[in-house]
C-alpha cells in the first residue's frame, strides 16, 4: 500500500464534493453551529437561567434568611418591611425556631419571612383559604436552597473537625466479587470506594426548615459530606450534579451519569460520519462509478483505505476537539479517550463499509446504517453503564473514555480487553467487504443475505478454508456473547443462565453454519456425506481454535461473574485435571459434531440446512445444560 496513493485518494474523497456544495448553505450551517456552540458555552459557564427569579420572597435584609435567598437566583428577595402582608397565625415553632404560616396572597410575593422575638416565621401565600401551588413550591425550593447554603458554609469552615466531626467510610463492591477485610480508617480505594467526611451541619446561619407545614422544624439539616459517587469527585461537574454533601439517604451505588453523557459526545459524531461514509461507498457501486478506479493502477486496498481515511481522520479530529474542549472546561479526558474512540470508529466504519457493499440502494443502506448505529451504540453504552460497578463494563471501549474522564486508573490488560474485540471485528468487517470489492461482486444487485454469503464464500475455496472463515467470525461471536453477558448479567441468575445458554448456542452455531452454507451455495465443494463431514470438522476445529482467544477475558477476571463463566465456559475453577481436560476436549467434540450436523443438512439444500442448524443448536443447548451446569 503506497502512502502517496492513499493520500491522493483520501484528498480526492474529501474534496470531490466541494464543488457541489452551495456556499451560502455552508455559511448558514457554520453560523448555526457557531450560534449553538456559543449558547452552549454560555449555558455551561453561566448556567441555564430559566428559573431565575421565579419565586418572590418577602424578607428583610437583616433577617437570617436573606442571605440564602439572595444567594439563590431562583429567588427574588423583596423587602416588604412588614407592610401589606396580612399574615395569619403561624403553626407552633419547631426546634429551629422556624414556624410556617400563611398570608393572604396578593400575587406580589410567594413567601413571606419574618423574624419575631428570636424565631423565624415563614408564611406561604394563601388564596381562597388554600395555600397557593406556587407558594408551596417556593417553600420546598427554599428548604433545599437553605440546605445547600448551610452546606456551603460548612465547607468554607477552616476547622474541618468542627464542621465535620464524624468520618464515614463507604466502599461499593462488585456484586459477585470478593474483597479483603480492611483495617479501620482505611479510606478505601479503587474506583468504587473513598473515604469522606461526614457530620451534622450546624444551624448557625439560617437553620433548617421544618418538614412541611406542620412546623416540625429541625435545628439543623443533616450536613457534611457523604461520598456517593467516588469516581465523580474527580470529574468535571458539567451539570452541577456532583454533590459532596447530603444525608445517609443520599447514599446510592455510583452511576456515572455525567461521564456517560459526556461519553455520548464521543459516539454521536460517528453516527453522522457513517451516513456520509456509507453513501460515498455505495455511490461507487451504483451506476458502476467505481469501475474506473478499479482499472487504474491502484490496489483495491488502497481505494478502500484511501476512501476511509478522511472519515476516520474526521472522527479522530472531532474526538480530539471534544477532549480539548472538555480539558479547557476543566474536565478529565486525554489521549486515552482518543485512543478508545479509534476502535469504536473503526467498528462503525467497518460495519458501514460492509453494509455499503451489501446494500442495493440508498434506502437499503439507510436501513442498515440505522441498525448499525443502534446496535453499536447499545454495544458502547450498555456495558459502560456499569463502569464503576463491574468489570463487565470493559466490554465497551467507551468505558475507557469514562475512566479517563473521571481520572480513574486503568490497567494495560483492561485497555487491551476493551479495545481488542472491537478492533478485530472492525478488521474482519473490512476484510469481508474487501473480499467483494471487485468488479464481479461490486456492481451486482443481489439481496443482502446473498451478498453476505458471497462475502463469506469469496474466502472459501475448498473444505478446509471453511475453518479459516469460521475462525474469522469468532471475534463477532465474542463481541455478541459479551454483549449478551452485559445485557443479561443484571438479571437474576435463575433467568440469566438459561437465557445465556440459549443465546450462546444460537450465536455459535450460526457462526459455524453460515460459512458452511455459503460454500455449498457457491459450489465450493461436493455434496457427498464424506465431504460434509470434512467441511463440518473443518468448521468445528476452526471455531474451537479461534474460540481459545476468549481466554483474553482472563485479563480482567470477567469469569468472576457467574453468567460470564457460563457463557465462556472456561472451567478454570475446576481443580481436577481430568475435569479441565474434559472441559478442553468436550467443546472440540461438540463443535465438530454440531457443525457436521449443519453441514450434512446444508449439503442437501436450504430447507435441510435449516433443520440441520436447528438440530445443532439443540445439541449445543443440551451440552451447555448437561455438561457446563453440572461441572463448572
Amino acid at each position: 500500500m503506497r502512502p502517496r496513493t492513499l493520500l491522493r485518494i483520501a484528498r480526492w474523497e474529501s474534496t470531490k464534493g466541494l464543488g457541489g456544495i452551495d456556499r451560502g448553505a455552508v455559511a448558514v450551517a457554520v453560523a448555526a453551529v457557531a450560534f449553538v456552540l456559543a449558547v452552549g458555552a454560555v449555558a455551561v459557564t453561566g448556567g441555564v437561567a430559566l428559573e431565575d427569579g421565579i419565586y418572590r420572597v418577602g424578607v428583610s435584609e437583616d433577617a437570617a434568611y436573606h442571605d440564602p435567598v439572595a444567594a439563590d437566583p431562583t429567588f427574588a428577595a423583596v423587602d416588604t418591611d412588614g407592610r401589606n402582608v396580612d399574615t395569619g397565625p403561624p403553626t407552633p415553632a419547631g426546634d429551629g425556631g422556624v414556624a410556617i404560616g400563611g398570608f393572604r396572597g396578593d400575587g406580589r410575593i410567594d413567601l413571606y419571612v419574618e423574624e419575631r422575638a428570636g424565631r423565624t416565621e415563614i408564611y406561604v401565600a394563601f388564596f381562597d383559604g388554600e395555600p397557593t401551588e406556587k407558594g408551596l413550591a417556593a417553600l420546598a425550593a427554599l428548604r433545599t436552597s437553605v440546605g445547600r447554603y448551610n452546606d456551603a458554609l460548612m465547607r468554607a469552615e477552616d476547622n474541618r473537625t468542627a464542621a465535620f466531626p464524624v468520618t464515614v467510610s463507604i466502599r461499593f463492591l462488585d456484586r459477585s466479587g470478593t474483597v479483603a477485610a480492611e483495617t479501620p480508617g482505611d479510606g478505601g480505594g479503587g474506583r468504587s470506594g473513598s473515604a469522606v467526611d461526614g457530620g451534622n451541619g450546624g444551624a448557625d446561619a439560617a437553620g433548617g426548615i421544618g418538614d412541611g407545614a406542620t412546623g416540625t422544624g429541625e435545628s439543623g439539616g443533616m450536613g457534611g459530606d457523604t461520598a456517593v459517587d467516588a469516581a465523580s469527585f474527580g470529574a468535571f461537574d458539567l451539570f452541577g450534579t456532583s454533590s459532596t454533601t447530603g444525608s445517609p439517604s443520599d447514599i446510592r451505588p455510583p452511576f456515572p451519569f455525567q461521564s456517560l453523557v459526556l461519553a455520548f459526545l464521543f459516539v454521536l459524531p460517528l453516527n453522522f460520519l457513517i451516513q456520509a461514509y456509507g453513501s460515498s461507498m455505495l455511490s461507487e457501486r451504483l451506476n458502476r462509478r467505481g469501475e474506473l478506479l478499479l482499472v487504474a493502477p491502484v490496489g483495491r486496498g488502497e481505494i478502500v483505505v484511501g476512501k476511509t481515511l478522511p472519515y476516520l481522520a474526521a472522527a479522530l479530529g472531532i474526538t480530539a476537539a471534544i477532549v480539548g474542549g472538555l480539558w479547557l472546561l476543566g474536565s478529565g479526558g486525554g489521549p486515552l479517550s482518543v485512543l478508545a474512540v479509534v476502535p469504536l470508529a473503526l467498528l462503525f466504519f467497518g460495519t458501514t463499509f460492509l453494509a455499503a457493499m451489501f446494500a442495493r440502494s440508498f434506502k437499503e443502506l439507510t436501513f442498515l446504517t440505522v441498525t448499525i448505529s443502534t446496535l453499536l451504540t447499545t454495544y458502547a453504552f450498555v456495558p459502560a453503564i456499569f463502569a464503576e460497578t463491574s468489570q463487565v463494563a470493559f466490554v465497551s471501549p467507551l468505558t475507557l473514555v469514562i475512566m479517563d474522564l473521571t481520572h480513574a486508573e486503568v490497567s494495560a490488560g483492561e485497555i487491551a480487553f476493551s479495545l481488542g474485540p472491537a478492533t478485530l471485528v472492525a478488521v474482519i468487517c473490512f476484510s469481508l467487504g474487501f473480499g467483494i470489492y471487485r468488479e464481479e461482486d461490486l456492481f451486482t444487485q443481489r439481496p443482502v443475505h446473498l451478498k453476505t454469503l458471497d462475502a463469506l464464500a469469496s474466502r472459501i475455496h475448498r473444505p478446509r478454508s471453511v475453518a479459516l472463515v469460521v475462525a474469522l467470525l469468532v471475534p463477532f461471536v465474542f463481541v455478541a456473547e459479551l454483549l449478551a453477558v452485559a445485557v443479561l448479567f443484571a438479571l437474576p441468575v435463575t433467568f440469566s443462565i438459561p437465557l445465556i445458554f440459549g443465546t450462546i448456542a444460537v450465536i455459535e452455531e450460526l457462526a459455524k453454519g453460515i460459512p458452511i452454507y455459503a460454500g455449498y451455495v457457491h459450489a465450493r465443494y461436493g455434496r457427498t456425506l464424506a465431504v460434509a463431514a470434512a467441511v463440518g470438522s473443518a468448521s468445528g476445529i476452526g471455531f474451537f481454535l479461534a474460540e481459545k482467544m476468549t481466554l483474553a477475558i482472563q485479563f480482567v477476571g470477567l469469569p468472576g461473574l457467574a453468567v460470564a463463566d457460563a457463557a465462556f465456559q472456561t472451567g478454570l475453577g475446576a481443580g481436577d485435571p481430568a475435569i479441565v481436560a474434559l472441559l478442553v476436549l468436550a467443546p472440540l467434540a461438540l463443535h465438530v459434531v454440531t457443525a457436521t450436523l449443519t453441514a450434512i443438512g446444508a449439503s442437501r439444500g436450504r430447507r435441510l440446512f435449516g433443520i440441520g442448524l436447528g438440530a445443532a443448536i439443540l445439541v449445543h443447548l443440551a451440552y451447555n445444560v448437561a455438561v457446563v451446569s453440572t461441572v463448572v
Partner: protein
C-alpha cells in the same frame, strides 16, 4: 502485443466466455462484434484487468493484464460513462492523472490538448450538468490521461446522437492513426467496418470467426448476382417494369438468360452484390449455426 489464450470466464454457474483465443498486434485496431450477451464486454473487461479469468491467460506486452504495470499502459472506456458528477472535467481528469502518476504540469498540458481536440469547452462545469455527449467526451479524455499504448473501448458511441457518434468514431480513427493498439466493440457494424483492421465475431461466449474484413468475406460471405429481365422468369420478383432474380453463379445466370429469351424477353442487367459485415454477422451469429449453440449450463444473463 495482446495475447488471449483459451479464455474462460464463469460467473457462478453461468459461462460468459468460453475458449476464446485471439491476438492483437501492436498498432492494430481489433473489433469484437456479436449480439447482446455474446461475451464482448466480459472479454474487454478481462483485457482491462477488471475481471480475473476463470481459466486461460491474457497477456499484454508479455505481462498479465491485471498487473499494475500493465494497467499503466491501458486506457479503458466502458460502455457507460460512470463519472463523478459532482466534479468538474478538469478536476476529474487531474485526479485520474494523479492515479497514473502523471506529473501535474504534464497532466494539465495533456488534459488541455485532449479537451481541445474533443472540442469540450466547459471544463469547470460540474459533470452532472453536462449532456451525455459531453460526458462521453470527458470519459474518452480520461482514457487518454496516461497517454496509453493500448485502448480498450466498449461501445464508445453507444446511445449518442449521429453527429457526436460520427465525431467519436473519427476521433477513434485518429487515435488509431497515432499508432495505438485499440480493441473496439460496437453494435453498429458500420463503425466497426470504418475503424477496425481485424474483426472477431462472438456468439454465446465463443469467438465464432476472426480475421480481416476481406478474409471474413472470402471465408464466410458469398458474392451473389442480381439479374434483371424484361419478362417474368421463375423465382423472380417484379421491380417496376422489370423482374429481378438473385443467382449465386454463372450457370444459374445463363439459365435465367435462356428462360427470359424463351419467354420473348431478354437479360437487361446484372449486378454483383458483395457480402456485408451485417450479412456475415447475421449469418455467423445465427443460433442455427453450431457455434451459436448455447454452452452447457449457460443461461441468459
Amino acid at each position: 502485443m495482446i495475447e488471449v489464450c483459451d479464455l474462460r470466464k464463469e460467473y457462478g454457474g453461468f459461462v460468459a466466455v468460453e475458449g476464446s483465443s485471439f491476438r492483437v498486434d501492436r498498432g492494430e485496431v481489433f473489433g469484437i462484434i456479436g449480439p447482446n450477451g455474446a461475451g464482448k464486454t466480459t472479454t474487454l473487461k478481462a483485457l482491462a484487468g477488471l475481471l480475473e479469468p476463470t481459466s486461460g491467460t491474457i497477456t499484454i506486452d508479455g505481462k498479465r493484464a491485471d498487473s499494475r504495470e500493465t494497467r499503466r499502459l491501458l486506457g479503458f472506456l466502458p460502455e457507460e460513462s460512470p463519472l463523478y458528477e459532482e466534479m468538474s472535467p478538469r478536476s476529474y481528469l487531474r485526479f485520474f492523472a494523479d492515479l497514473y502518476d502523471v506529473p501535474r504540469d504534464v497532466a494539465d498540458d495533456r488534459i488541455g490538448r485532449t479537451l481541445d481536440r474533443l472540442e469540450l469547452a466547459h471544463r469547470d462545469r460540474a459533470l452532472g450538468d453536462m449532456s451525455k455527449g459531453m460526458k462521453r467526451k470527458v470519459a474518452i479524455a480520461r482514457s487518454l490521461v496516461n497517454d496509453p499504448d493500448v485502448l480498450i473501448y466498449d461501445e464508445p458511441a453507444s446511445g449518442l446522437d449521429p453527429l457526436t457518434t460520427k465525431y467519436i468514431i473519427e476521433f477513434t480513427r485518429e487515435l488509431a492513426a497515432e499508432g495505438r493498439t485499440i480493441v473496439f466493440s460496437a453494435h453498429n457494424l458500420y463503425h466497426v467496418e470504418e475503424v477496425c483492421d481485424r474483426i472477431a465475431i462472438m456468439n454465446e461466449g465463443r469467438i465464432v470467426t476472426e480475421g480481416s474484413l476481406p478474409e471474413l468475406k472470402s471465408t464466410h460471405g458469398e458474392t451473389v448476382y442480381h439479374v434483371f429481365t424484361t419478362v417474368e422468369v421463375p423465382d423472380a420478383t417484379a421491380e417496376g417494369d422489370r423482374y429481378r432474380r438473385t443467382v449465386e453463379d454463372m450457370d444459374e445466370l445463363d439459365a435465367v438468360r435462356e428462360a427470359a429469351i424463351d419467354r420473348g424477353g431478354r437479360l437487361e442487367d446484372v449486378r454483383t452484390v458483395e457480402p456485408s459485415l451485417e450479412g456475415l454477422f447475421l449469418d455467423v451469429a445465427s443460433p442455427e449455426r453450431p457455434g451459436g449453440e448455447k454452452p452447457p449450463g449457460a443461461t441468459e444473463g
